[in-house]
Amino acid sequence: MFTRTDDRITTSQAVVFLTNTVLGAGILTMPRSVTQTTETPDSWLTIFIGGAVILPVILLLVKLSQQFPGQTVFQYAGRIAGKLPGKAICMLLVVYFLVIAGFEIRTLAEVTLFFLLEGTPMWAIVLPFIWLGAYLVGGGINSIARVNQIVFPISMLVLFVSFGVSLRLFDINNLRPVLGEGLLPVFAGLKSSILVYTGCEVILTLVAYMEHPRQAVKAMIGGITIMLAVYLVTIIVVVGGMSVDSVITSTWPTIDLIRSFEVTGFFVERLEFPLMVIWLMQMFCNFCSFFFQSSLGVSQIFNVSYQPVIYGLLPVLFLSTMAPKSLNDLFHLGDAIGMMGIGLFLLVPVLLSLIWLVRVKGLKQHV
């Protein structure tokens, strides 16, 4: 057929989708949150180990989804765990996605208010953003994946150019000593380094939309590898450029690093501006991804059509954005999201897989 009617995404789109879902506000705050817990320059090791820990999680998520080709978690949870428990689990997942989406917009609004639009009311920043997201999400997963595909290379290019220019501040001594206080701080920071991967639950729905679900393992591991690389470079460059102490005290360490030098003789002297511009776009993709997941969830759990759900979720998203009262609240929320993520991981993929294993392998039931 010449005109495609099915809403499937290619493998490369799936990779970018996953990467863009996870790479959101994290990159602006991650160096601080991780370094705060380790309090040594070894935070990059922590990130590395965090990636290694997250890898089996990803594999579990993919493998579980592959058992039900073409079905999202919202559809197969009921088949595994029974109707009501399945719905309850999925509702938790939806709430989780909504909270993350609100968290991302709030972070974006805070950054924008602080650096670009001082004195603008918060709603004036949040509302157009949510509406624009609704417009894009209305187009289904394909439109979102395509916008991701446009934004991702640009944002990576700008990010790495900014990092490259910031290398003039890089001092290897800031990263030394390696393991100066032993392995303990590295593992102490593990919790916060796993938190930066929150959002990879989208795999549970993403696999259902892949054109070639067999390549899902490869694609998702590819996505996680890209994220790991970006996080590693970020933390090395930021900690190396700013030293541990100033990273811990700064609110937005990545932006602060880029702000701390000027490129003379260039049209834009301070690179934090292009970086922020690009990061706004990245956050948009990020937000749209969660928005999509939650509307898809609601529509599939309650069997209502997809478009009205998008509109119905708009005020919920807005409230979830406005709920934190201060920046501190916001960062606490970020930590809470991380904890929720771990809890949900235990509840959704692990529990579901166990039940599935027991029912199929043990009781020989047909699920």
């Binding site: 057929m1 010449f2 005109t3 495609r4 290619t10 490369s12 789109q13 924008t112 670009l116 639009l117 603008t120 709603w123 004036a124 920043i125 509302l127 157009p128 953003f129 949510i130 509406w131 624009l132 609704a134 417009y135 894009l136 209305g138 187009g139 394909n142 439109s143 994946a145 395509r146 916008v147 595909q149 446009i150 934004v151 049209f267 834009v268 002297e269 301070r270 501006f273 511009v277 706004l280 776009m281 948009f284 509109y311 119905g312 708009l314 005020p315 998203l317 807005f318 409230l319 406005m322 709920a323 009262k325």
Partner: protein
């Protein structure tokens, strides 16, 4: 515990905003859907309607009675009232049979008519020519000879410019000679001038246009199918494609959409474009138009379909994608390095034409700290006397530039450049002197205008001009943040847009590496071994 939860329940103003967040998009989408339902569905009449339309435009014509006198009388009754219809009755010398010629004044070369047609009919056509009823078509020495099926179609064809011939004792009327009304000669395409490349442009005559396509090269696979469109004034429309390249599903889709067109008169190919396009609410054109046969044939070889309409030099090419708007045939005629340079230059120009005023507004009004300090100082110095906010300032100059441009098109050729000088130079300078606008803005607007002139397709330039104003509004409300939102809005819209099933942003997204050879830069011809993936052609090798 409970009190801390209550503490986080937001105030009433947030709730109001949340309700607004819900209501405004619902309203917007309702309006959008309403508008789409009004016009968007107009092109897709359901079967009952289309049947009615069919009967309307094909009234079951009265058949020829076979009685010479009676038929002539019917014809004269129906169309004899036209003062430009010439009716001439002749007697064939050799057989002594009466015949009648009907034709419209001004449609034929009188010399051919007199010398050739009349002479033959009156003096040469003998009994051997016409004594066998029903076989007369084979015996008349005219290359163009059609038989009218009924009186109505006979009348229509005569009025359109055919010469109608009725012979006593023959059932039915004959149509000789194609209409040959006033035409202009072949000229260089006005809207798509090139330095290097053929100078030939399409004309208003369909048969000439199709022949121009044919003469691009020997092939028996170039297929041109003609059909009539329009419900009241009917016109010829031709679909041209290369049979062993084009995707059959695409062809079917295009024919179906053309078949669904329901309009009494298709005046120009722009009508066709608007009646068959996917989304009429989009600012982007989803059908490309061109005056150049070389461009059309190149598109056909990429697996696209050309739609030619009688009476216009603009040929439509479907499906079309965003990247085609910034391509010029010259990219391929020049060597690949300069071609690529020009291509990238055009992308930059398109970006400037779209975003430059918006960036100006957001930098000047919102973030002067983000541009280098000296530059910011000098701009602000020159803006000191300007009493308006930057949006009004930009609007003043942009609107006047657009008016100038519009005026320049209407003016006769000798006056046009003078107008440009008066408008551009004098008014611009005077506006700066008078302190209405800042000199830096004049530079920005001039760069914007020049950039938009460099867009190789006029209608694409129009979309950018339109969107530029939208971008300025976004920038005026939210500065750089608004400009980014505008860019994201464009991206979101473009990713949703399709042209005949082909995503508009191909090959950027969906990502098709194969087609990147011909996107931001133009790869050497030796590398372009395959046709674009987006058109899903039957045969995708360009090299054997």
């Amino acid at each position: 515990m409970l009190s801390s939860v209550i503490d986080y329940i937001p105030g009433w103003n947030v709730w109001t905003q949340a309700i607004l967040a819900f209501l405004i998009p619902i309203l917007a989408s309702k309006i959008y859907k309403k508008m789409y339902a009004i016009t968007g569905k107009g092109k897709k009449p359901d079967t009952a309607d289309s049947k009615k339309a069919e009967t309307l435009l094909e009234p079951s014509g009265a058949p020829f009675s076979g009685d010479y006198e009676a038929d002539i009388q019917v014809i004269r009754d129906r169309i004899g009232g036209n003062s430009d219809l010439i009716f001439r009755e002749i007697r064939m010398e050799k057989t002594n049979v009466r015949a009648a010629l009907f034709y419209v004044a001004g449609m034929h070369n009188d010399r051919v008519l007199d010398l050739h047609l009349m002479e033959f009919l009156m003096f040469e056509a003998g009994s051997d020519t016409i004594n066998e009823p029903g076989r007369i078509r084979d015996r008349l020495p005219f290359s163009c000879l059609l038989e009218a099926s009924d009186l109505n179609s006979f009348n229509r064809s005569v009025m359109f410019g055919h010469i109608g011939l009725m012979i006593e004792g023959e059932l039915g009327g004959l149509l000789i000679e194609y209409p040959n009304g006033a035409n202009r000669s072949v000229q260089e395409p006005l809207s798509e001038a090139l330095l290097r490349g053929p100078r030939l442009g399409f004309t208003e005559v369909l048969s000439e246009n199709t022949s121009m396509l044919r003469r691009q090269g020997f092939s028996d696979q170039l297929e041109i199918k003609t059909q009539k469109v329009g419900t009241r004034l009917r016109k010829d429309l031709a679909l041209a494609y290369i049979k062993d390249i084009v995707n059959p599903d695409l062809l079917e889709e295009v024919s179906a959409r053309i078949g669904k067109m329901d309009f009494d008169f298709i005046a120009e190919s722009g009508y066709v474009e608007q009646l068959i396009e996917d989304n009429y609410l989009s600012p982007f054109q989803q059908v490309q138009n061109t005056e150049r046969p070389d461009r059309a044939i190149a598109a056909l070889l990429e697996g696209r379909i050309a739609i030619l309409l009688d009476g216009t030099p603009f040929v439509l090419i479907v499906p079309s994608t965003f990247s085609m708007l910034l391509q010029s045939p010259e990219d391929y005629y020049e060597r690949w390095l300069p071609g690529s340079l020009l291509r990238m230059l055009r992308f930059l120009a398109a970006f400037l034409a779209l975003m430059a005023p918006a960036l100006y507004i957001s930098f000047i009004s919102f973030h002067p700290g983000l541009i280098p300090t000296e530059l910011a100082m000098s701009i602000i110095e020159t803006r000191q006397g300007v009493p308006f906010p930057s949006l009004i300032e930009v609007l003043i100059l942009e609107v006047s530039i657009e008016i100038l441009r519009e005026a320049g098109i209407r003016l006769p050729k000798p006056v046009g450049p003078a107008m440009g000088i008066v408008g551009g130079l004098i008014i611009g300078d005077a506006a700066v002197q008078a302190g209405i606008v800042s000199p830096f803005l004049v530079i920005v607007v001039a760069v914007t205008a020049i950039s938009s002139f460099s867009i190789p397709i006029y209608s694409a330039g129009l979309s950018l001009r339109l969107l530029r104003f939208v971008g300025m509004l976004f920038a005026a409300f939210l500065g750089m943040y608004g400009t980014i939102l505008f860019f994201l809005l464009l991206c979101s819209h473009l990713t949703k847009l399709k042209s005949f099933g082909v995503p508009y942003l191909t090959p950027v997204s969906p990502f098709r590496l194969r087609d990147w050879k011909d996107l931001f830069f133009r790869a050497p011809l030796a590398l372009m071994k395959r046709r674009p993936a987006m058109t899903k052609t039957q045969d995708d090798k360009r090299k054997s």
